[in-house]
Symmetry: C2
Subunit: 332 residues, 2 copies
Amino acid sequence: MKRPTMKDVARAAGVSPMTVSRAVSGEPGVSPGTAARVEQAVRQLGYQRNDNARNLRRKIPGTSTIGLVVDDLANPFYALMARSVEDEAHRRGCLVLVGSTNDEPRREREVIAAFTARQVDGLLLVPTIGGHGFLKQPMEGGTRVVCVDRPAKGLAVDTVTVDNRAGAERAVRHLLAQGHTRIAYLGDRFGIWTQRERHAGYRDALAAHGIPEDPALVRHDLRSRSDAAAALAALRALPGPPTALFTTNDVITMGVMGALGPADRVDVVGFDDFPLADRLSPPLSVVSQDPVALGATAAHLLFSRIDGDRSAPRSVVLLTRLIVRGPGQRGS
Amino acid sequence: MKRPTMKDVARAAGVSPMTVSRAVSGEPGVSPGTAARVEQAVRQLGYQRNDNARNLRRKIPGTSTIGLVVDDLANPFYALMARSVEDEAHRRGCLVLVGSTNDEPRREREVIAAFTARQVDGLLLVPTIGGHGFLKQPMEGGTRVVCVDRPAKGLAVDTVTVDNRAGAERAVRHLLAQGHTRIAYLGDRFGIWTQRERHAGYRDALAAHGIPEDPALVRHDLRSRSDAAAALAALRALPGPPTALFTTNDVITMGVMGALGPADRVDVVGFDDFPLADRLSPPLSVVSQDPVALGATAAHLLFSRIDGDRSAPRSVVLLTRLIVRGPGQRGS
DNA sequence: GTGAAAGCGCTAACAT
DNA sequence: ATGTTAGCGCTTTCAC
């Protein structure tokens, strides 16, 4: 059975399609009597307005739809962010298209192209490593863009990030204060902006204590829990193994903690907090960031752009918090 | 600056809009020469086809968009499912609109109405407690629906679930085999189908051992980690406290594990596995289900429906796996 | 308060 | 190989 249209409703109610349009969209100029007859026909036929057709003709531009493009929707961090974005959108009567990029520039382009082809009003983007020049033309066409978690190189748009470098520096400073001098760095691909920042923070802290960075203790490119576990094993097999670890995201932290036992005496600080992180042994300290705040802030920025804000692009930096666990506990 | 249309491209390339349409959509009947000129104009103007307008006119029906409606996108379980669905959709060149219901029937209706107004080809639905009669008319209009995780009462659609009852029964049987007789049940709202099933499995196991259900040991309506922690505290304050716990979802399990210490001697089995669950103490056994398989299976069913499969609705039941950890470890 | 005509951006069907 | 006409489902505009 085909979906009924306004014409069908009009016929059933004995009025013109235009009157149905007005009634269905709650516009003035429909007498209570006709409105009732229209509503009756609507219910009987199970009519629902086709918003795609509507948006095509409406003078008020926009589709009340935004696109959310993240690295990996399955990652709890982005999942929390996505939920927060969705809540803000829902509050505005806006829908959310989602896409994961896997950090592949090619998939990012495909997803974004499909989104803009659907005329999304805006894009909330966790940019991949690749360039983003291809966004220029959609933006001139009216698609608003806001970056979250990482900036997009060479793209003048609002950006919401956290103080990655300072957070990492504080984490490593904490380890140094515990007397550690051989602190390993376990990170994801160096191409990712957050990873470069966190690495810089690691170096900052070491430098402040006059400790040279030992390349043997620095591992990049850890893309999974098993990568991290393998890197840890390699580090511990070193002649001078590290006595403390700094892990730069939740996946790596989990990989490392999964490979450590209660008997292992290493101090670990990880970027990102997660449920039950406080119940592990050896104890795990974390640099905690707030994905919900990240998502909500970015969504607000995007919506104010969609609402017509044409001021210069802003950069919002949210703060991280060091949570020390185990002996030497401090709080913040 | 306004978005260019086919007319603009046609003018720039010195051809008719129809030729642009053919060229842009890769249809035959365009000479290489004109195709090149069109492509040139497209690039210069930054033209992108408006797929909403396109879908309006196309004979091939459909928008290549599906709607995913889950309880809570931030829950790691649904996040994994969502990612899996998105991957399947991406493979088919299909986009995904997401919405969380919070298990509120009203929000579910709003989200679904907004999705169908956008002419989604299908709906992947984790139904709320409420009724779903309102789906009848969209379905007659051609919107395909598949339920995941839970069935929708009184709705004849494909459904993908796990063997909740058997999984719960096996979990509790394991605890009984360890010699426990006072096994507490900590569950979410009883209105949720999975919870009723899991509770039935709990009773099955007890009954098989001739143990009557002790109402004092059964707690429903635990909706957060703190609810679970509070319920646990109440249980332990009982004159005859439980010696083992069965927790019926990841949130409750985390709440309980967060409140227990290594010194606590209780056996715990939880429904749902999660990262590092194997590193906790006291040890945590789990009934593990596979959210990725759940999502992928449901997506496959939905797409075959969208592709025209009109056979009778199917019910697919995936299997859970008991993972025993700590002393008494077995494997499956 | 209601309706007829035109057109949003695109494509099916029929020309040429 | 290319163009013309009509119309998808809706809303704008302007009549009455």
